[in-house]
């Protein structure tokens, strides 16, 4: 085992080697390592230049990243929601949470039914990681949105929506045969549109 790379793993397989050291290290080290893995995957998914191996890194799927981003988005929007709507905070939290997981499930199922040969959780993992730009836009709008006119608020919404959609579309389109690409991609677009709309109106 290569201990010299312990502090700065260069790739995912080296991170995997480190898992055997779990029991011997402190909790904070384990958490930091998991966070680094999530950050690594996030960079991989969202910055297209990193994907030199055509998405093979995604085979090491995990659901921690999607869960963190989903909770962050639901909490941001429910925190802001209380003052502007008839519904309570918990309503908004529940809607966002259910929307993300059920939405990811249905979009993946759609790709599978169209003939896509993909692991179910791999696709849910990707869709979850691509929620991160929506998170950014929700935080921007939640904190400085009330000082901005509507048109200015639209700019980060559109940019982040386009970023999310573009990141996940490449993967989803590669799963299905060529004549069915738009059929697999449209639900992804609708999913992120729903989430972007929520972050805009709250």
């Amino acid at each position: 085992m290569d201990y010299t790379n312990q502090k700065n793993p260069q790739n995912y397989s080296q991170m995997e080697d480190l898992k055997t050291l779990d029991l011997e290290e402190s909790v904070s080290e384990t958490i930091m390592r998991d966070l680094k893995m999530i950050a690594y995957k996030l960079k991989y998914v969202l910055i297209p230049k990193e994907q030199e191996d055509n998405g093979k890194e995604l085979r090491n799927w995990d659901l921690w990243g999607p869960l963190i981003f989903c909770l962050a988005l639901a909490m941001t929007l429910s925190f802001k929601a209380d003052s502007t709507t008839n519904s309570s905070k918990s309503d908004v939290f529940a809607i966002i949470f259910v929307l993300i997981w059920v939405g990811a499930f249905v979009v993946t199922l759609n790709a599978q039914l169209l003939g896509g040969k993909v692991s179910f959780f791999q696709s849910v993992c990707l869709l979850g990681y691509c929620v991160f730009p929506i998170n950014i836009e929700a935080i921007i709008i939640a904190f400085i949105g009330s000082y901005l006119p509507f048109v200015v608020k639209l700019i980060p919404v559109i940019i982040c929506f386009a970023w999310s959609a573009y990141s996940s579309v490449g993967f989803m389109a590669s799963l299905v045969p060529p004549h069915k690409k738009k059929l697999a991609v449209y639900p992804v677009f609708l999913f992120y549109l729903f989430l972007s709309w929520f972050s805009l109106i709250v």
Partner: protein, 240 residues
Amino acid sequence: MQNFGSNNDLDEKGNVMTEQPKIKVKFEPKPKQSSCPICTVEYYQQFFDIEQRDVYMRIRCSLLSWKPEFYQCVGKNPDLWGPLWISTTIIFILFAGGNLSRFLLEENKKHFKYEYNYMYVAVFIVYAMAFIIPIILGIIMKYILKSELGVFDIVCMYGYSLSVYMFVLILCIIPYNEAQWFFLMCGLANSTIFLLVNLWDFMKKNKQTALIAIPIISFNVALILSFKFYFFRLIYAVDD
């Protein structure tokens, strides 16, 4: 040297047979006997066996509703992609557009309260109209009225009949009462004519089958009334 590892036998002349007759074992995985074939994912794959060009043609058939061409478009290949994503798009438009329409009417924009209940009601109404009602009608038509059409043919037809509402409901965001009624009436006419024209062959068989027109028309009317009176209701401030 004795070779314990191999199965070399001696033939009649005492020579070692180096080649053994090879027995071919053909491994055939047994087909999974599912107690509920309709519950598996594989069963539904047959309904997603379409291309983007087909979806475009079917939506076009439904928008030009007076031409009974839907069965030429569909053939033996009803799909569920269209009904599912058309109805989900309509839910989004109802949720976003309904609130946007109220927002445009609101005089004091800062006091606008977003109505999240629109989401739950939209999901219930649209998925009931797109799936539950055609499944019930399809079962009645196939098993009681002896139609050649399958249940999924009816679901496919209902799903595509809703496609006109994707455009109509966007136009309904305009917060004028008369405009909204006009667009909804156009949508109702288009959708109902589409369903009746394509079921005409079935309906003209006898009096019983003709009665199927009544639930079709009434559910469509109920749908646009719910659109108008729940999602796009215009609340005028009352001057005391």
